[in-house]
């Protein structure tokens, strides 16, 4: 049994992770507990299935509000890694509103916070470029089926973007792009939980994880996916 903690910025990443883990790991025995930071403490939001001996325990901590993923990890890393025996801590945050040229510095600064820890190699930060919605956009099939049901040509012509071959990480504001696409089909996207659920429940995770054509289009997700697999292999 292995324990992996995720620290995420908001409900968008949390919902995405829940669907991703469910789709990717089924039918393995695993359990997912989710928590929300309220004041100084994490409040339990949901408890996963109570298997007798699950292969993996996943804990998703949603930081939210004005709190930051880095601080939440830094404050709890010693306790989780040393006392609680976690195998890895994974932080996920958006690069937005920072400039993309700062990506390496953000990664390096985060790593420097744990450089003096024995478990520094078990702590990871993945920065979605520019927002986690870029990962949703990568699965363009999402827009071709109900309830959106629009064509790639319509997206290209109306929004002047090539959703199939563009490097999605070059989009300055993927949330806005997603909203504009959804509006073409009569919907909208404003990070509301029901909208995130609607999208994440329809994403093709197999396509997202394994179709090599995506790798250059969502490098941040690719990095996350590769490291996540390594963690699972190392700790299985």
């Amino acid at each position: 049994m292995k324990k992996i903690a995720f620290f995420v910025e908001g409900h968008t990443e949390k919902i995405f992770l829940e669907y991703f883990l469910t789709e990717y790991l089924a039918p393995t025995n695993y359990t997912i507990d989710t928590y929300l930071l309220v004041g100084d403490n994490f409040k339990t939001i949901s408890k996963g299935i109570d298997y007798e001996n699950p292969s993996y325990y996943f804990y998703i901590y949603t930081v939210g509000n004005d709190e930051r993923v880095s601080s939440a990890i830094l404050e709890r890393a010693d306790n989780l890694m040393i006392k609680e025996g976690y195998d890895a801590i994974i932080g996920i945050r958006d690069l937005f509103p920072n400039n993309r040229t700062l990506l390496n510095q953000i990664q390096n600064s985060f790593e420097s916070l744990f450089s003096d820890k024995e478990f520094s190699h078990q702590i990871f930060l993945f920065v979605s470029i520019m927002e986690v919605e870029a990962w949703f956009l990568a699965d363009y099939n999402l827009f071709l089926e109900p309830p959106v049901e629009i064509t790639i040509e319509l997206i290209n012509e109306t929004l002047n973007i090539d959703i199939v071959s563009d490097n999605i990480e070059t989009y300055r504001n993927p949330t806005t792009v997603l909203d504009r696409i959804m509006r073409l089909g009569g919907g909208s996207y404003s990070k509301h939980q029901t909208e995130v659920h609607s999208i994440c429940s329809r994403l093709d995770y197999c396509f997202l994880c394994f179709d090599v054509t995506f790798y250059s289009r969502i490098q941040a997700f690719n990095n996350f996916f590769n490291v996540f697999n390594t963690i699972l292999e190392d700790t299985a």
Binding site: N65, S71, L74, S109
Partner: protein
């Protein structure tokens, strides 16, 4: 006019020497530091200067200050003041680098904007030039500084108590004390827009309030009447009177009443608040701070506050924060202006603002 820089020391060469350096201010400012770092003392340095300039108190001290006349202009005043044994040792004013007032004890020179000439004068040794030489045409710079002092409002958020009422003796007393707010609210009851705005603000920071009010109430045969506030919360059938109101709610209401009054009447003011957020829960303290910043954005109001509330500190832009560090009697302010590289590196760590106080800073410097 806004205060943009503060350096101060007192009791030089004495055991009780104390100084604070490198304080840089903008329109919105939060001072953060561990307990006993000098946050409240810094506010006293600013408050006391305003009281000295307006002849309310006499104190010793050594101030080096800079002011920006207003946001549109590029007029910068530098004001140096040295008072020891209640004697004015030195007073200097520079306007954009040019010395326009130069006084030592009983001798001085002052530049007249009207005649374009520098005149000699002999001030009494214990009086400030700013108080004895006022003339709108000759010395408008003195007016700018004295007006700044007159318009400074200093409050202690944690000092507001539901059972503590200050009865204002003069009309200006309505604004100078948070404990006099019931009287200010009573005077404002006919201003529907203002009252609605106060209700709106209270809702914005998380209080479900329908109405606010104030009324005179007898507090005993010999004590006469005092003004007291009440609120009507949406989820309660009865009104909540001041006496049973939570301290946090009463503090927030008091500050909001003052804020909306100042904003509505376009009063140019420096608002100094010690212990902002004290007594409020984490969510409301952050929201109150955001509200203060938002409502004063684009106005001529400067906010200078202290806080140790981590949620409040995390809710604001790091560039609005001065972190105070003390070593013995020396207090130094670290801010974006004087430590840009360090702040930029810190921002990249993605840590909360509050974590700036942690020891990891030393690692970042290297």
């Amino acid at each position: 006019m806004i205060l943009t820089k503060v350096d101060y020391f007192e009791n030089k060469n004495k055991p009780n020497f104390w100084q604070i350096k490198n304080v840089i201010l903008g329109q919105h400012n939060i001072f953060v530091g561990l307990n006993a770092t000098g946050k409240s003392r810094l506010l006293n340095v600013i408050n006391n200067l305003a009281k000295i300039l307006t002849q309310k108190i006499r104190r010793n001290g050594n101030w080096d200050l800079e002011f920006l006349k207003n946001k549109g202009s590029k007029v910068v005043y530098k004001y140096e003041l040295r008072i020891n044994n209640l004697i004015i040792d030195c007073e200097k004013i520079y306007e954009n680098g040019t010395l326009i007032l130069d006084r030592e004890k009983e001798k001085g020179t002052i530049f007249s904007k009207k005649t374009n000439e520098t005149e000699e004068y002999s001030p009494p040794i214990d009086e400030l030039t700013i108080n004895i030489r006022r003339d709108l045409e000759h010395y408008p710079f003195l007016e700018d500084i004295i007006n700044w002092a007159k318009e400074l409002l200093g409050y202690t958020f944690s000092g507001v108590q539901t059972n503590l009422i200050t009865v204002p003796m003069k009309p200006e007393g309505l604004l100078t004390d948070l404990n006099a707010v019931p009287y200010l609210l009573l005077e404002s009851m006919n201003d529907e827009n203002l009252i609605n705005k106060i209700v709106e603000d209270l809702n914005e920071i998380g209080y479900s309030v329908e109405k606010v009010g104030a009324r005179k109430q007898s507090v005993g045969a010999n004590l006469g009447e005092v003004s007291l506030v009440s609120i009507k919360e949406l989820d309660l059938k009865c009104t909540t009177e001041q006496g049973v109101m939570s301290q946090g709610m009463f503090r927030a209401l008091s500050l909001i009443v003052i804020l909306e009054h100042i904003v509505k009447h376009k009063i140019s003011s420096t608002i100094v608040i010690d212990d902002l957020g004290e007594g409020l829960d984490f969510e409301r303290s952050s929201k109150l701070t955001r509200l203060l910043f938002e409502r004063t954005k684009g106005t001529n109001i400067q906010l200078i506050v202290t806080s140790n509330d981590r949620f409040l500190i995390n809710a604001v832009d790091l560039k609005n924060i001065n972190f105070l560090k003390r070593q013995g009697p020396n207090v130094e302010a670290l801010n974006y202006s004087n430590n840009k590289e360090l702040f930029d590196k810190f921002i990249l760590t993605g840590l909360n603002n509050f974590d700036f106080l942690s020891t990891k800073l030393d690692q970042l410097k290297n």
